[in-house]
Symmetry: C2
Subunit: 194 residues, 2 copies
């Protein structure tokens, strides 16, 4: 598929069939996810693959899935065949930028103009979501309403932030997000200056 | 090109030929950049296209280009045919999540577990960088050492953060980043829990 067709086809899906997802597809998707750029090549992103039914129910609860289902959505987190939890580690960036090739003339770590650990997480997640479409699968996304509970349940170190849950499966008919009625912006380009 | 080949081919390039970049290619790249997911479909990302030589030199200075050239790199920011400055607007997300369909039962905006405005900027930048490769062009990335100066020079509103500069052109032989000797991580996957 042409790259521009691939990105046009990608959308957030909030319902999946019972059909299982192959381990090989998940492996290829996770291999894609690690190929994004990162500040100082820190690569501070990790991914937790969850297929255990009880853990999926717990993570769904920490994302407030009932808020979705009360609004007419399917239980797209707890019922997805596979969940991937992308994580990012701010301290890995600080450690990287305290290495000799990254410190300033006085040996100090830079002042960060932007939290690139979150932007780099976006790079990784975008690659992951595109790979899902390339594999003829579908994915959604939900943030954690209770992030500390998710960290505890998954045994994630305190310095690591799980940035959300990506349910993956074969797409089923779903309720579309009401946010889509906002339409896609076309005024995002500025020429020479804002 | 197969999607997995596309992402394997993508790398940060730090030198460009003098060959100009077509306006049509830049338009397609910018159209790709707006197709990423965003929290609440906020789409709080904007892009400034800079081709003016004097402004390119200024932005290169605000990125500390001399630090690169003193280390043996080419002047890949000031000399690139086109610069794109991706921006993100945190307040656009707060405004979106103060709308009726996003507030909690007491009418309050959510507490943000993650600054999704930076993650969504990562989604947009990843799409942009892949579109560049799809167009047989090359791109680099540099963060601002002096972000307020960049904001002032480009007339960017105070609530908007320019997250860096993406030089784009036809690739020329370049010095590779010393960070690459770190190698790409292969221990990024965790099964069922961390």
């Amino acid at each position: 598929m042409d790259f521009y067709d691939l990105i046009a086809k990608r959308r957030m899906v909030r319902n999946f069939t019972d059909e299982p997802v192959s381990d090989e597809a998940i492996d290829r998707i996770l291999d894609a996810a690690r190929r994004g750029p990162s500040a100082g090549f820190t690569q501070g992103q990790d991914f937790i693959v969850v297929t255990d039914a009880a853990m999926k129910r717990q993570l769904a609860e920490f994302c407030g899935e009932s808020f979705y289902t009360e609004s007419g959505f399917d239980p797209f987190i707890s019922k997805a065949p596979v969940l991937i939890v992308p994580c990012t580690n701010e301290n890995a960036y600080h450690r990287r930028y305290q290495e000799a090739d990254k410190t300033d003339d006085s040996g100090e770590e830079i002042e960060w103009p932007v939290p690139y650990w979150f932007m780099d997480a976006g790079h990784a997640v975008m690659l992951l979501l595109l790979a899902v479409v390339h594999e003829n699968l579908a994915a959604g996304f939900a943030g954690f309403q209770d992030l500390p509970a998710a960290r505890a349940a998954l045994g994630i170190p305190a310095e690591v932030t799980p940035v959300g849950v990506i349910p993956i499966g074969h797409p089923a008919p779903d309720k579309r997000s009401p946010s889509l009625k906002r339409g896609r912006r076309t005024d995002h380009i500025h020429r020479e200056r804002w």
